[in-house]
Chain length 299, copies 2
């Protein structure tokens, strides 16, 4: 036996305390983080609040092959500055915040949409992909399995997969026929995952920064929690893709790779909290209770 081995054997054994999920994410190597491309970042600047503070909401758009028809429309709407001057029109507690043209239902007053937007068929609510992450949830009332596809929560049935209505996910409002959502009318989830909407509305992204600028707004008092008066609506000053901004003005964010060992450990810790305070690990987690870690890219 060499001296080195002896020294190693003699080293005191210090049991590390179990880490909380956020600590696992913070400790992941830089190589486990994936930078979000600027063409996938949609930046919404709301009117400043009553104290003059700026309010920004940043949305990450979904990757191929999910919802690409609607996402092409959203990029075109942002390029046309179509949302500038629109507003947040509906805030329903434990459900959704919705924004766009407050007069969209009134043909005489509705803001014209840019030309060239596509009509996307109902079949685009699902895609033929398999999860890319090793993390799987086998027990779900909503699907055969749940898991993650390139950073996004999905549910699967056979060879079909669809994105999931977790907190902060962004979807496309529509009328009764399922192909009537253009992408101009958007909403985000601010409560318990309304999984009944999965496969019934297109999901196109998620809020990754500033969701409190939507979720903490006063609730509307009209049917479906729309606001009653124009004064209650929060104005949208500007909506742009990061790729349409000068490079110096682009926010930069990154997601923890759902294909990394760090994410495996993170998901395991979400399902089995062993850090101080916890006395009874749950032994599992639903897909919306494993929020993919996202952070501003360190400079």
């Amino acid at each position: 036996m060499t001296l080195l081995a002896l020294l190693l054997l003699a080293a005191p054994v210090v049991a590390e305390p179990p880490k909380a999920p956020a600590e696992i994410a913070a400790g992941a190597p830089a190589s486990d983080w994936v930078v979000i491309p600027p063409e996938d970042l949609l930046i919404i600047d709301l009117a400043p609040d009553a104290h003059g503070r700026p309010r920004r909401v940043v949305i990450q758009l979904m990757p191929k092959p999910f919802s690409q028809g609607w996402i092409a429309n959203i990029r075109a709407l942002a390029a046309a500055h179509w949302w500038d001057g629109t507003s947040i029109n509906r805030v329903q507690d434990n459900y959704v915040v919705q924004w766009g043209d407050p007069n969209s239902e009134d043909k005489a007053k509705a803001k014209p949409l840019p030309t060239g937007l596509k009509k996307v068929p109902q079949k685009a609510y699902v895609a033929r992909v398999a999860p890319t992450s090793r993390v799987r949830i086998a027990l779900s009332p909503y699907a055969q399995t749940e898991g993650f596809f390139q950073g996004w929560p999905i549910a699967t049935h056979g060879r079909t997969a669809w994105p999931v209505h977790c907190y902060g996910m962004v979807g496309v409002g529509r009328d009764m026929p399922p192909d009537t959502g253009s992408g101009a009318e958007l909403y985000t989830v601010i409560g318990q995952a309304p999984r009944q909407l999965d496969r019934n509305i297109a999901l196109v992204g998620r809020v990754i920064d500033g969701i409190e600028n939507m979720s903490a707004l006063p609730r509307g008092t009209e049917p479906l929690s729309f606001y009653k008066t124009a004064e209650e609506r929060t104005p949208i000053v500007r909506t742009r893709l990061a790729s349409d901004l000068p490079e110096s003005e682009r926010p930069r964010f990154e997601t923890l790779s759902t294909e990394s060992a760090s994410f495996d450990a993170f998901a395991d810790a979400r399902a089995n909290r062993r850090d101080a305070f916890f006395i009874a690990p749950a032994g599992g987690a639903d897909v919306c209770n494993i929020p993919v870690p996202i952070r501003p890219t360190p400079r």
Copy 2:
């Protein structure tokens, strides 16, 4: 064949359009609604908002045998007017709103608790009961089954059951040792059900009215989303049990019996939306996505 049978056969068959869950609840007979006793209603009056509008939050306390030690403490704290002059101290997006004494961690400044509060042991986090409702969720990552006990969402393992951290549920803040929560420090859930807290903190009730007076408050900016300054805290003016108020001042609420056929139909509709707009019924629902209908008692 009798004339009566002939007439019945000849009656025109009108297929009723499938009902939305809210329509099913609204159509339930009066006998399917259970009035909440006034000793189970905890009324929190917050300071009026910036426009002078009153802000009230009403909490329903859980029935026996769940969490009765903490609930006895809460009734004693309300009777002692202990919360009057305390405040909402923490608002964390997609997690919890917490209220009580803002100085509870500072022994020199902490508000003294009334005498006679009980120390409740860890074993009271669970109870030995079976679901009373026929509605069952067999596929859950968190438990063998989920269901309802006298109007409340529960999860079960063998003969053990525990209440579930759904949106709006109210729990007892504690320090590291599991028997350190008195009931003076309370929180409510304002996001995706944090099921990792089940069996780790005592649940004692749920917000049944006015949750937007908590969930739409500005988020805190300190660690764990506590507020930084005293000015940010929303003052609690008064907290009372309805049974401690004159009868004319008591609010009255009722819950749809989870043991009724109406609730069976409601839960089925939550899991299988067939009303207009829906094209792909989910085929299931998690226990927190079947919120028990609650309404002011019609006069």
